[in-house]
């Protein structure tokens, strides 16, 4: 039966079954051009893994150069090119891709009780466009190859500020126009991929929730992915428009971003007039600041999820956490101007942006308070996902505090374009978000691949990475406090040539090397565990959300054709009177009543019998996706087995 025929027939049965597609049989359909959200999630995850190592290698390259500039490892032009490629790869291909495309794709449909994303083929298209975008970006390394004076990439930074990104001759070196053009093309394709994906996430969340999965019963991970998708939808469209205008400026003689009377390469630039460099900055940062939240919100959602899971407590202030996510998303669209305090825009505008920026610190603070509230009077289990979650909280606090300086237009007079900015955004949207990715990787690895990761290696990786990143990025704040400007390839200036400055740069570089070595431990752990890790039980973490009620790895359609019914919130841990310290979302609504007399009768399903664990709904009732609160489908209470803590 064809997909469409199958879908048409299924549509008559349930809303969920519309998205049911037959399990693929061939290798290509199963692992390459797959429409299964789980496979696509893994594809995104592997893509981000590859990109993260590439980005990290680039950072080691220029960090070594910064510690030992006398070795001449990079020319100034080469330094800027490597810096640009590092930033672009990390921001787009890692921080945007892994948390949302990777884990969101894999876990969101299962966590809301859906069999797949709303638009599986669009989902596949999103991934392949992302891969295309990565290939185009990597091509920027080589398209300007010149044996005598190779500049490996564009030199305009990940922000692509005009006119440097428009006027070809403004960039030093012999790379010509192509590296920058490839960069813009890559960004444009990435925007398309993200726009398509965001629509898919939004529709899936709103439309495909199973019976009983009311909005306020969704795990905070789902809230984070959902809101991130909304942000993506609104932000990437603007960047796409900006990118296309930039392409027109570069190649078709328009002048959106380039003013007249520039003098470049020993001549007056007559091809452009009337444009505004600040227009590009407004368009870019209208995307660029929400992008920070695109990178970090999924990590925040996951940190909340894991703190509750491993502290064995309900998340403190679930509703406040949801509102805080929305507040961050909303305010996130009104603060882009804090990247432009010193750009030359009207200074009164800076005052407004500054006050709004300080206000956005409030929901971020609420989340931190609530994380501490969750840990309060808890019984922590230090499994590896929890290590990363705790690390995330520390990094989020430390990194976030830098924003209190930079969000103030007055203080930014000193800090603008210094290493303080670099330290701040690396700590918060780089490292904290990557710790969210680490946490998601070790948490869902058993579900994704059916095998457990090695705990000892995870512990070593966590401690080495945590110490390493603090060694890198706290000193960056210090040298920034001392006025060290960013984007310089060396220490050409007298006040930078102090022993303290040079020593701090060496500390940062050695911290980076330590961090990089730690990532090799992670890599070994991943590939060793993929093939040799112990078989994962269905619910190794004794968690409550829906993905832990199905086998590891899940069957093709997640629930073996039986849509679950949700009866509980996502964080019912240590409930007084409960038969065990967690109540799964699919447990029977009367589990507490049962527990008083029938504690011994909690069903213990096996890892391979998902269809037996979930109560079966008649089609007409399951079509009411995300139906009324507390709807109970009846049936037996599903539970779980194979706990590592049993």
């Amino acid at each position: 039966m064809s997909d469409s025929a199958h879908a048409a027939e299924a549509h008559t049965e349930t809303a969920h079954a519309v998205h049911r597609h037959p399990a693929p049989t061939g290798f290509i359909a199963k692992y390459v051009f797959s429409v299964d959200h789980k496979v696509i999630g893994k594809q995104y995850w592997f893509l981000a893994l590859f990109a993260s190592f590439m980005g990290m290698a680039l950072s080691l390259w220029f960090r070594w150069h910064l510690a030992y500039p006398e070795q001449g490892l990079l020319t100034p032009e080469g330094y800027l090119a490597i810096l640009t490629m590092h930033g672009t790869i990390m921001v787009f291909m890692v921080l945007t891709t892994a948390p949302q495309g990777g884990f969101g794709n894999y876990a969101l449909p299962i966590q809301i009780g859906a069999e797949d994303m709303a638009f599986p083929r669009l989902n596949m298209l999103s991934f392949w466009l992302t891969l295309l975008s990565l290939i185009i970006l990597l091509a920027a390394f080589f398209v300007g190859y010149d044996a005598k004076n190779w500049v490996p990439g564009p030199g305009s930074g990940w922000t692509g500020y005009a006119p440097l990104s428009v006027v070809e001759k403004a960039q030093a070196g012999k790379s010509g126009a192509w590296p920058q053009t490839m960069w813009v093309l890559s960004i444009a394709v990435f925007c398309l991929a993200s726009l398509i994906a965001s629509i898919n996430f939004i529709v899936t969340t709103l439309d495909l929730r199973c019976k009983g999965m009311t909005l306020m019963r969704m795990p905070l991970t789902v809230w984070a992915w959902f809101v991130t998708a909304i942000i993506s939808l609104l932000a990437f469209g603007v960047l796409l428009a900006g990118g296309l205008l930039l392409l027109l400026d570069r190649h078709l003689g328009t002048s959106f971003f380039v003013p007249g009377n520039l003098f470049i390469d020993n001549r007056v630039v007559t091809e452009h007039t009337g444009g505004s460099p600040l227009l590009w900055q407004h368009l870019f940062w209208f995307f660029g600041h929400p992008e920070v939240y695109i990178a970090i919100l999924p990590g925040m959602g996951l940190a909340s999820h894991l703190l509750a899971n491993f502290a064995r407590k309900p998340i403190f202030g679930y509703a406040a956490m949801v509102y805080a996510i929305f507040a961050i998303a909303l305010l996130g669209f009104f603060v882009w101007g804090h990247h432009m305090f010193q750009s030359g825009m009207h200074p009164m505008t800076a005052v407004v942006f500054s006050v709004l920026t300080m206000i956005i610190g409030v929901p971020s603070a609420i989340k931190t308070f609530n994380w501490l509230g969750t840990l309060w009077n808890s019984k922590i289990r230090f499994d590896s996902p929890m290590l990363y979650a705790l690390g995330f909280v520390s990094l989020f606090v430390t990194g976030g505090l830098g924003g209190i300086f930079l969000g103030q237009n007055a203080a930014d007079v000193y800090f603008h374009d210094t290493y303080f900015v670099v330290g701040h955004f690396h700590m918060i949207m780089g490292v904290a978000a990557i710790f969210g990715i680490f946490a998601g990787s070790v948490y869902w690895f058993p579900k994704m691949f059916g095998r457990m990761m090695n705990e000892r290696m995870s512990q070593i990786h966590f401690f080495a990475t945590f110490i390493g990143v603090y060694l890198i990025f706290v000193p960056m704040h210090f040298v920034g406090l001392d006025g060290h400007p960013r984007r310089y390839a060396g220490f050409e200036f007298a006040f930078l040539k102090t022993p303290e400055m040079i020593a701090w740069h060496k500390v940062m570089t050695h911290g980076a090397i330590m961090t990089a070595v730690a990532q090799l431990v992670l890599l070994v752990n991943i590939f060793y565990s993929l093939f040799n890790g112990p078989k994962a039980p269905a619910n190794p973490w004794e968690a409550t959300s829906l993905e832990w009620g199905i086998p590891s790895p899940p069957p093709h359609d997640n629930f073996a054709g039986v849509i679950p019914v949700v009866n509980h919130g996502p964080y019912e841990y240590s409930v007084p009177g409960a038969p065990r310290d967690f109540i799964m979302q699919t447990d029977a609504p009367d589990i507490l009543r049962h527990s008083s007399s029938q504690t011994a009768h909690i069903p213990v399903p096996t890892n391979t019998s998902a269809s037996e664990k979930f109560p079966t709904l008649p089609p007409e009732s399951s079509s009411d996706a995300g139906g009324s609160s507390g709807a109970a489908g009846g049936g037996s209470a599903p539970s779980d087995s194979g706990s590592t803590h049993a």
Binding site: F263, K313, P347, A350, V351, I380, V397, V413, F478
Partner: protein, 264 residues
């Protein structure tokens, strides 16, 4: 493991705070501008507040983690609305108030009328150096145009030699200003974006082609160090040497001979 985390977070506090306490001179190099002291106050106030938050947050983490080891079972606690409202309101007040405290210095730099008797100097960025265009005794800077720029002949600003106002102008690759005098630098670029960074003056401003951004400042000295590197040029530029020696400034004719090839 709990002990490891307690030690780890203690190390975070020490690593983030102790270097600043041990050697406060490593932060905020001495400022020599009037508004610089106001900016420093804002930075130091923020440093105190964020330092306390960092310490308290990590102590909170350490305490809850350690206390967790003493419990047999977690407490079922879903939240506390009163607490949520309290810390939301207090955090909001703290952050906004801190921000508002910084607005007077911003207004002084950007929003208030520029001092009447100030010396106005154009600062022009180019790849890869800075140029400073002084008015001569007539107090006026001559016209410039891109189509007159000729680096080979030394007219890097495109000064109009026919314009009488340019005849006494001084063009330099270094900035020399008198102390205790109001100065307004008008920052622009002739090619791409650059960032003017003067840590000791507490001036930071992007140089944007097509845009001239005025920044006022006044140098005050409290030391006898008469010659000092205080700043850098743009993203690729040469150093901007500032000698805050009023007497030297008066001898600008000498400077003119050295570095104002376009002036007649």
């Amino acid at each position: 493991m709990a002990l490891l985390f307690v030690l780890l977070f203690a190390a975070v506090i020490l690593w983030s705070v102790v270097p600043i306490i041990l050697d406060p001179n490593t932060i905020l190099p001495e400022t020599i501008s009037v508004h610089g002291h106001l900016i420093d106050k804002q930075v130091v106030d923020t440093l105190w507040i964020t330092g306390v938050i960092l310490i308290v947050a990590h102590l909170g983490l350490m305490y809850t983690i350690w206390k967790s080891t003493k419990r047999d079972k977690a407490e079922y606690l879903e939240g506390n609305n009163r607490l949520e409202i309290t810390w939301t309101v207090l955090t909001g007040i703290l952050f906004v108030a801190l921000n508002l405290l910084g607005q007077p210095v911003w207004a002084k730099m950007h929003l208030e009328a520029k001092p009447k008797d100030a010396i106005h100097i154009d600062v022009i960025a180019k790849q890869f150096s800075w140029m400073f265009h002084y008015p001569g005794p007539d107090g006026k800077r001559g016209a410039r145009a891109a189509n007159r720029i000729n680096d080979a002949t030394g007219n890097s600003l495109g000064l109009d030699e026919a314009d009488e106002e340019s005849w006494d102008d001084v063009v330099s690759t270094s900035l020399v200003v008198p102390v205790d005098t109001d100065i307004v630098v008008h920052i622009t670029s002739r090619d791409v974006l650059h960032a003017l960074a003067c840590p000791a003056l507490r001036i930071k401003q992007d140089a944007v082609p097509g845009l001239s951004v005025p920044i006022p400042f006044r140098v005050v000295l409290n030391q006898q160090d008469w010659q000092k590197f205080i700043s850098l040029g743009g993203s690729e530029a040469t150093e901007w040497l500032m000698k805050y020696d009023a007497e030297h400034f008066q001898k600008k004719d000498a400077t003119k001979e050295e570095s104002a090839p376009a002036a007649k």
